[in-house]
Symmetry: C2
Subunit: 386 residues, 2 copies
Amino acid sequence: MRRVAIVGGGMTPFAEHFDLGIKDLLPQAFRSALRSVDKGMERGDIEAAWFGEVTATDGFPSGILADSCGLLDVPVTRLENACATGNDAIRNASLAVGSGAFDVVLAVGADKVRDGSARQTFWEWMSGNRDMAWDFPLGLVAPANFALHVSRYLYETPATREHMAMIAVKNHRHALPNPKAQLRYEITVEQVLEAPIVVEPFGLLDCTPQSDGAAAVLLAAEEVVDRYTDRPVWVRGVGLGLDRVMHAHKKDMTTFPASVRAAKQAFGMAGLTPADVDVAEVHDCFTGVELIDYEDLGFCERGQAFRLVEAGDTCVGGRLPVNPSGGLKAKGHPPGATGVAQCVELFEQLRGEAANQVDEPRVGLAHNIGGPTAVSAVTILGRERD
Amino acid sequence: MRRVAIVGGGMTPFAEHFDLGIKDLLPQAFRSALRSVDKGMERGDIEAAWFGEVTATDGFPSGILADSCGLLDVPVTRLENACATGNDAIRNASLAVGSGAFDVVLAVGADKVRDGSARQTFWEWMSGNRDMAWDFPLGLVAPANFALHVSRYLYETPATREHMAMIAVKNHRHALPNPKAQLRYEITVEQVLEAPIVVEPFGLLDCTPQSDGAAAVLLAAEEVVDRYTDRPVWVRGVGLGLDRVMHAHKKDMTTFPASVRAAKQAFGMAGLTPADVDVAEVHDCFTGVELIDYEDLGFCERGQAFRLVEAGDTCVGGRLPVNPSGGLKAKGHPPGATGVAQCVELFEQLRGEAANQVDEPRVGLAHNIGGPTAVSAVTILGRERD
């Protein structure tokens, strides 16, 4: 397959955008991505688009993207893969450029969670991402189903709620310099531990906020990259992994097999290993999930994630900074947008222009684990082409 | 891009499957596609899947496909593009094989419309495919918004409700030998004209039924086609076109610009013209829409579709048989499945093994116009590779 690079990326702030609809957020993210292209890009250069949106809040998603961004002449595919939607949009866009059918394409992610209630409740919003026969009626929406995993993980490993709290503290600190982040204030381990319980073992400050927002990246084939920038960020590997939907079918609650599958595909395509990763944006919808991610992505041995936290390895300044943007936890989490925004962050990190810049990274990894822990997407980006 | 062929295709009957869920329908369509592969195919040969489902009736779509079909080791992308969903799934699957990332992939479409009401009303079901700010609150769900187009079309052209009725009669007759079709009985022009009005100018017999069902095709790269069959059906061209979402923004109600755009892309990729098409499955959600399709797809001049109907050109046995399966009108219309099922029909037609076989077709065209007439997908299949 042809080499593909990101040549532009931008996003709206993640926030409670009560005053903005998807039709407002999409063009903001799109324009922000266009403006980031070093040598400029015309809207007419874009040949196709992929749009990740979990719920069709304001109506027909692909039509609304085309309509609101002035892209009526290009094909737009809307895709949905729970919280892995954004990185899967980038994966499909990359495959399409790789095929040779298109030279320049757009991948966008967006969602409005905060006022979906105009049309549906949060529970209805969640229903498309669960098993409707068993798990959903039993109450296994996001906090509860991730809690089953993390509870078992705490039981099986030396990790504690304090380690989880240290993840929250780290990610809030990381968000401070990020103007796009939703929760830009520091918190302490004590505050996290004393916060009201949402569902054991998650207190309020272990949980991502609900957010509205959009993010966009522009991808180009190697053959035309030079038209747009001398500093492309290459899509080195993409992966998408699935797993059983119902929790009763999951054999080991301390890992997400979907993440392991997605990472294996992406590292295999990239010809890289976890040791090559210099910066990562991983799915920390709940603090304990970030611990499991470290292990599923191969950043440490099984059961040893707590050591990375204790050593400060995953802080900016540490050996492998994770979630320098603030992560879902503090940057926010509009599900369709989250994966794309992770890649916007890595695009900026790998070009040395991030708000919370880590020290000269060469390889970045973006990761989501979504839905009933049944789907994961991993994107590996690099400063070098190969 | 690499050449891609369909090497297998199958589907469930389209019907009121009150006793079956998506988890039942998906494996039925998948097994039916696997069984159709001449030299056999193992589930383990499949490297990736695309799943078109408009509404997540039974829960998390891509996970449920992987889970119910035993495909946990492959990436599954769920996509949605209103009634163009099925052909867009085939388009994305084709691009992915074309890229070289995968040699053998699965494209599936499915939907349950008939008992979505367990969780949501038909109006809620429709809400994701409209403009929520204006058109949906004004009542412009599918019958009403297509009625605006067809009313104007009848005003501007010599076509009449009788011509529309002749489309219904033709497609019901076509469905008679098709064991997968939902409405297998003949009707007369008089019955169509005397049926209760749903919305002017559509009587009950001008409208597609609501259906449940699933369909699947197996796609392979040219390099591996020989492993599976000596009679592949080649994906010659794929196209996806968009248009303004709100009806107030549509300049000419007698055409669907999305269809024109999708057809232009697909014919361009195939290096073919409308005159090369020997058999077509087009979107006849309402009879008058099939008339507009003839013109948008280039089968006749503007305003002249009625002549094809009067001459019987689009009947099986005519110059260009359209909807030999019965079409949406009589075969049924589970939106996510419809486009895939059209390609299953063409796969069988081009191999000479369709239930209602046309005379030795070499090129077939599948077409959808969906949502608020804002998206269209076209797939062109051929017996020859190029």
